[in-house]
């Protein structure tokens, strides 16, 4: 029931898989145009493991790519086959392209550092002249309708990212849980919470049973007992329910919660909730 964790990889050292791969080639003094793929693939996998990057998608993808090239290199080929294309060619192209970009980064880094070391007039000071110049009127606004629509479109796209997720509640089945609980209490005077909720139960199942138990407790049809902190919770048979309650699941009175299960927001009558985690 726990959501898979999103990976946020702090790459202080490597800005991506190509960066790591290049570093590896440099460390091993390997010529880019003739990469011993089998060896490099192994070392790449080993490194991402040591660096704790072996769950980052971008790095895994590169590992998979290297292994695929390794496999392709092992395929037999006839001598003098003119149509044979080196499976490493695409990787070499990417590495060179990436290396070229790194060269530009060095230039930008140098320029940026030189500029950072020079200070400009701060934005607010320019307005404070001796004459008390009022806030400067900025230039005319140059924003078109299409600019605005583009922004709306970007927002909508952004809206599809998980940061914007809508939670659709799974309908609870409280009537079903009530029926099962009542039937169980007819059979047995004492039942453990663990027996009512299967080990691999989903949250909606756990909640359904919880609400059923609380509802029956409210009707005094059962009592809830816990011998000690963290001990198993036990449900004891209370007064016998009216005959009608045992007949039809659909007639169980839980009003709104059954009518609109997807909007279920019912609280137990006493208004208190047990934390689910502690109970289960």
């Amino acid at each position: 029931m726990a959501e898979p964790q999103t990976f946020v990889v702090e790459l202080a050292q490597f800005s991506g898989p190509l960066d790591l791969l290049l570093t590896l080639l440099r460390d091993e003094q390997i010529d880019i145009s003739d990469i011993p793929v089998a060896r490099v693939a192994e070392q790449f996998v080993a490194r991402i493991h040591t660096l704790g990057l072996d769950e980052a998608a971008d790095f895994l993808e590169m590992a998979a790519r290297l292994l695929r090239i390794k496999a392709q290199m092992l395929l037999p080929r006839r001598d003098g086959d003119e149509n044979w294309e080196d499976p490493r060619a695409e990787l070499v192209r990417r590495l060179l392209e990436y290396q070229q970009m790194r060269e530009v980064v060095d230039v930008l880094e140098r320029l940026g550092e030189a500029r950072r070391n020079r200070l400009a007039r701060p934005p607010d000071a320019g307005r404070a002249t001796a004459a008390g110049l009022p806030a400067t009127p900025p230039g005319p606004l140059a924003v078109s309708w299409i600019d605005l629509l583009g922004a709306v479109d970007r927002l909508l796209r952004a809206g599809r990212r998980p940061a914007f997720h809508a939670i659709v509640a799974r309908a609870l089945d409280v009537p079903g849980a009530l029926a099962i609980l009542r039937a169980t209490l007819v059979e047995r005077a004492r039942v453990r919470w663990d027996d009512l909720v299967p080990a691999e139960a989903e949250p909606w199942q756990v909640l359904s049973v919880l609400f059923a138990v609380l509802e029956l407790a409210r009707l005094a049809e059962c009592a809830i007992e816990q011998g000690a902190p963290f001990a198993p919770v036990e449900i004891l048979r209370g007064r016998v329910p009216p005959r009608s309650a045992l007949v039809a699941d659909s007639e169980v009175a839980l009003g709104d919660s059954t009518a609109h299960p997807e909007h279920f927001s019912g609280e137990p009558a006493d208004g208190r909730f047990e934390p689910i985690g502690a109970t289960v």
Binding site: G139, V152, F164
Partner: protein, 183 residues
């Protein structure tokens, strides 16, 4: 005029780069070795350098010193800033504006919640440009300000009313036929 002394140059750079008047403590922090007399002499050097036919002067203000443009250039600077390049809203500002247009009235917290970044300075820009305004206060803790678009917003985009903004399902169509030229 002779070159400024090293201390005077340091002060000149600091006065230039500071957004507010430079106080005596800050001057002392710039060069802890210098004596009070050194500092006064250096300030006098800077003052003299700018008194000599420049458009800028060193002014004593609020217990400190500040380099400011002279009074007679105020109007000219205003003119020049009017002629500054047309103000294009950044992509971030546009997105914020679009959000406000569609969700108004909306609080800053709501916008930041959706955009995932702080939008304080963007709201300020949009307020200054008159594209949005405070339209009320929300209920609840702290009664935060509610923002909405202004008539100037409608005017700028030649909209008669907000209902003319495309619905989100119409957007794909609205965006299709237009070919955007790079500026």
């Amino acid at each position: 005029m002779a070159d400024l002394s090293p201390l005077a140059r340091l002060f000149e750079a600091a006065l230039f780069a500071s957004a507010s008047p430079v106080l005596p403590d800050a001057l002392a922090a710039l060069d802890p070795e210098a004596s009070d007399a050194d500092r006064l002499a250096a300030l006098a050097e800077v003052r003299a350098a700018y008194d000599d036919g420049h458009a800028i002067e060193l002014v004593d203000v609020a217990g400190g010193w500040q380099l400011l443009t002279r009074f007679e250039y105020t109007q000219a600077i205003e003119r020049a800033q009017l002629a500054a390049r047309p103000h294009r809203l950044s992509a971030a500002a546009l997105e914020t504006l679009a959000l406000i247009a569609y969700r108004q009235p909306v609080t800053r917290a709501d916008i930041e919640d959706i955009r995932g970044v702080s939008v304080g300075s963007i709201l300020k820009t949009l307020l200054e440009r008159g594209l949005i305004d405070v339209v009320g206060r929300a209920e609840g803790l702290g009664r935060p300000l509610l923002y909405g678009t202004t008539p100037a917003f409608l005017e700028h985009f030649a909209l008669r009313h907000l209902g003319e903004l495309p619905r989100s399902d119409e957007l794909a169509i609205a965006l299709r036929p237009v070919t955007v030229a790079a500026p």
